[in-house]
Amino acid sequence: MDGLRRARAMALKEVMHILRDRQVLVFALGMPVLLLLLFGYAVSFDVEHIPLAVIDQDHTPQSRELRAAFVSGDTFVPVVETSDAEAVEPLFRRNVARIALVIPHGYGRALGRGETAEVQLLADGSDNTTASVALGYANALALSVNQRSLATILGTAEPPLSVRVRTLFNPGLESAIFLVPGLMVLILVIIAVMLTALTIAREYERGSMEQLFSTPVGRLSIILGKLGPYFVLGLVQVLLTLTLGVALFGVPVNGSVLLLFAVAAVFLLAMLMQGLLISVVARNQMLASQLALLSTVLPALLLSGFIFPIENMPPLLQGIANVLPPMHFVRALRAILLRGNGIAVIWPDVLALAAFFVVLLTLATRRFRRTLA
């Protein structure tokens, strides 16, 4: 009871600091808006009008159907039609085409026999993002066409084509929708780790931590009181980002909002612990902010699957991404928002977040205790 009262005194003080320091609030509430607008409008990850070379060596109705499926949307524009496979490389080099669909001889016959037929997709790897997005999209398309053809031939029920595409990618690959979960991670990481690491490091740096330790306020009260306000601020940001995402970009909320906030809460706790650990180790604001930046923003940007697909990374980076919270949070968010998944699907990610929290809690409180003598 006493501990709670002291934690409350700490929390009130922290709120005072936050209210006094306009920068924190502007930063905390302005950043989600700014980042959303920046990423949502200015930086488009959508790929449209990709110049496509079609190398049809089959010349069957089936091969023409596949070609038609590729060029029916806005994604690919056929710029070259040929049957010469050797022509591809010069086309890429001269920037005439970015992606090439090679339908080999025998494609139609294989489909006719009820076998899975193979087509080749070649992409110009110099533009990585476009290439991977285009390839993924083309892949899904080819797969669905194949399966539809197979299904028609075998007389089984047509597989739900649209669902299949959607589970692989969000429909139409609208990047804003895809990016909102990633942005949420970035924003929360910055607030939770950066601000808490700074506020605790500041207490060490200015000597007020020593004054605090000279009072009967316990370690737990300090942690709870210090982190509580940022926890609330983090949840406000989740709400803000989500609302903006829905209002501006039509992000679908297919799953439970409650579950989303619950997962966000676990993620926030993990991040707050990381901030605490950093500040206890660094004990000055300069080092703390550098450590926070390195250990949070980088993984959130690079290892979350937010921009770069994890699957294409070397095993070591994949391993790191799997240990750190950002990837799990992005995955869980996307599952809840875009696919409407429940806890039955996302529990492994939630478990990974919780495990990270527990490990960091142990490390941080152990380090924090030492300073108390």
Binding site: A9, M16, R20, G207, S208, F213, S214, A373
Partner: protein, 319 residues
């Protein structure tokens, strides 16, 4: 569980603190009685703050024992913290908060509630002289007032013992005097004060003074006794623009010259025997060609004690 009022409020036995190989505080032993002003004196790095940190439960001793306000350290650190106040060497209130917000926070940290909380905050405002400026930002306060506010906030929970680590460092003389009036007032009300200082004149206000040199407690007594024991002989102040070497050569070969130290504009010469008489001294100087020197008997100061005792220090030697 508090002990009878007669027991010393601080009892320290062989208290030692190492940082790696470096011994910051070396087997220090002393007692502080209830209601005392106990002064702790020493050069930079002598180990004053380290001693205080251990006694406040902020730093674990490497060895030795300490009993503070009836509780054993470091095991009962939390209970010690509830009964003591601590004003650290650095100003450590929150400068971005208002006066009242600082006090209100520390009142909460000490677990004060309801009427008592309001009453203690009012008292603290009064002590700091800030009753009319409770909404002022702490960073806007002048140094002297800040120190009073820091003291006031360390008094919120009515501690029986208060540790002040160089409370008047960097404060103007007038504020220093009023700060010391406040300390004496607290002691009259029954508080025990443990204070470190660089100002030797302030040490004269202390009931007893401990002198730290290189982590050792080299002397501990009342100011008067310290002077008697460590600065024997008679102290003569010699005015006129004399240098130490000049006076030393003038008095070369004279019996009973114990020490010569510059002191303000004058020189302090400590002598024994016939030269203790100012007239005898004047004659001796005239024989060496120094005439018209202004010679007056004077009391040794704690600075003289300090200079004598710190003569062998390997750490810094300036107070």
């Amino acid at each position: 569980m508090a002990e009878p009022a007669a027991a010393p409020i601080i009892e320290v036995q062989d208290l030692t603190r190492r940082f790696g190989d470096f011994v910051a505080v070396d087997a220090v032993s002393f007692r502080v009685e209830r209601g005392e002003i106990f002064g702790y004196l020493g050069a930079n790095g002598a180990g004053k703050s380290t001693t205080i940190r251990m006694l406040c439960g902020l730093l674990a001793p490497t060895s030795g024992s300490a009993r503070v306000a009836g509780f054993e350290l470091p095991d009962q650190a939390v209970r010690v913290k509830s009964s003591i106040g601590y004003m650290s060497q650095r100003f450590s209130l929150y400068t971005d908060l208002e006066v009242a917000e600082n006090l209100s926070f520390f009142a909460g940290a000490y677990g004060l509630r309801g009427a008592r909380r309001r009453q203690r905050i009012d008292y603290a405002l009064e002590v700091a002289g800030l009753t009319d400026r409770r909404r002022a930002l702490t960073r806007d306060l002048p140094g002297g007032i800040r120190q009073r506010l820091a003291l006031a906030s360390a008094l919120l929970h009515e501690p029986t013992l208060i540790f002040l680590d160089e409370p008047t460092a960097g404060v103007d003389p007038a504020s220093r005097r009023s700060f010391w009036r406040l300390i004496r007032q607290l002691v009259r009300e029954g508080t025990t004060v443990f204070v470190t200082t660089h100002h030797l004149d302030e040490a004269e206000y202390c009931g007893r003074v401990g002198l730290m040199v290189d982590g050792h407690l080299t002397a501990l007594d009342t100011p008067a006794a310290l002077k008697r024991t460590h600065v024997p002989g008679t102290m003569l102040a010699i005015g006129g623009d004399l240098s130490v070497p000049a006076l030393r050569s003038a008095l070369a070969g004279q019996d009973g010259v114990l020490d010569i130290q510059p002191f303000g504009r004058a020189l302090h010469v400590r002598v024994r025997g016939p030269l203790s008489d100012p007239d005898a001294m004047a004659r001796a100087l005239e024989r060496a060609g120094i005439t018209g020197a202004d010679i007056t008997p004077t009391e040794p100061t704690l600075e003289d004690v300090f200079l004598t005792l710190a003569a062998g220090s390997t750490r810094q030697n300036e107070l």
